[in-house]
Symmetry: C2
Subunit: 205 residues, 2 copies
DNA sequence: CGTACTTTTGAATCGCATCAAATCTGGTGG
DNA sequence: CCACCAGATTTGATGCGATTCAAAAGTACG
């Protein structure tokens, strides 16, 4: 998941964008925008992690997206209001690019335009994969689906705590710990620190 | 959900696209493409319903998207393979637009380009809403979330059977019937044929 | 008018959420 | 350097709600 932007967008941002961008440091917990705010800037994450978050009826956090590097909150470009909160999950640095500047460059720079559309299409694919994963009923199936679809060769380096991974999978953290334990005991999944992978040949159960 | 394309795209397709498009009738059950196929055309739905479908480990159907009118399978424009099946849910008509023609028009027609990006951004928003819904744990919460986010004023005209609505909500059809019954008994939801809506002031439980 | 599918209800089961509590971890300040 | 604290990790017990299996009634369509 933390690869998507790096591969979908040019590594170097067009100079015209950088000219108007404001660099800004953020710390864990900083709220960059709130649901209902009017989007005035596009965010580009230089380092750290920003999350798009909504809250369920009981107040629990629902993570819509975790961004580590690359543009964030793309959908809000065309919408009058943010439909979720933007929260820094750890300290890092971002670029704030004024919306008008972004739209101007998008208008003028054909290469950037193409890259941007590819980026959006990639987001659509990624979100569809997440919907598919959340449609699976078993905890084990979701974990395996995650390893298969987010990793390279079923190998994933987690860039977050297991607790927040659990929320991303739509599970309680206890359920995730338990299923990881079971999958490890059964030899389906191997865990080594932050890195998890599937032992090939054993994908089911 | 069946509004999204109509509002996000110009009602009239650019003439340059129509020139190369092939009109085609489909019947319920027709498979338009399969996961793994190489995308050669972009589909535009004139009537009927096309679904993007994947299959879970137990073979059960997972509906990634239902398209009623408008472009479909946009993400596949930039990807070498389809990542899901395309199946007609009912008889209808589609336009098949060759990929090269689509890319050419996208290159030349600035208005169409903007409309397309807006469309993609809308898809991202729609998918995020679906992820949020699937992250909710209770069946009632998902139904209410659907009515709130997909309807006008919490009022929705279902364009599908409740059984396939259940799959879209990530529920068994029995669970959906039961929760609808309960919500109706409690006076939270009113059902009148295909149309469902929330009785205002009572959103929880 | 028959057949296939949806809708609806019932009963039993199972998995996950929830509540609880102990341990471990990294980071902070004394 | 150590004590301390907040949060993550891990395990246990319990209950609820959704799945599953089953079956009947309703409905659409040829």
């Amino acid at each position: 998941m933390n690869r998507q932007t790096a591969e979908a967008l040019p590594t170097d941002i067009p100079a015209a964008l950088l000219a108007d961008a404001r660099r800004r440091a953020v710390r864990a917990g900083d709220i960059l925008f709130r649901q209902g705010d009017i989007p005035r800037t596009i965010l580009f994450i230089l380092s750290g992690e920003i999350r798009l978050v909504r809250h369920g009826p009981a107040g629990e956090e629902i993570i819509l997206q975790r961004g580590r590097g690359g543009f964030l909150a793309e959908a809000s470009l065309w919408s009058p209001r943010y439909h979720c909160d933007g929260v820094a999950a750890e300290s890092g640095e971002i670029l704030e690019i004024p919306r008008e500047a972004f739209e101007r460059v998008l208008e003028d720079d054909g290469d950037f335009q193409r890259a941007w559309m590819r980026h959006l299409a990639g987001e659509v694919r990624r979100l569809r994969a997440q919907c598919e994963r959340l449609s699976l009923h078993g905890a084990a199936e979701r974990v395996i689906h995650y390893l298969e679809s987010e990793g390279e060769d079923g190998r994933v380096r987690l860039s977050q705590s297991r607790k927040s991974w659990a929320r991303e999978l739509g599970l309680s953290h206890e359920a995730l710990y338990r299923v990881l334990r079971r999958l490890r005991d059964e030899g389906v999944v191997v865990a080594e620190g932050d890195t998890l992978w599937l032992r090939q040949g054993l994908k089911r159960r």
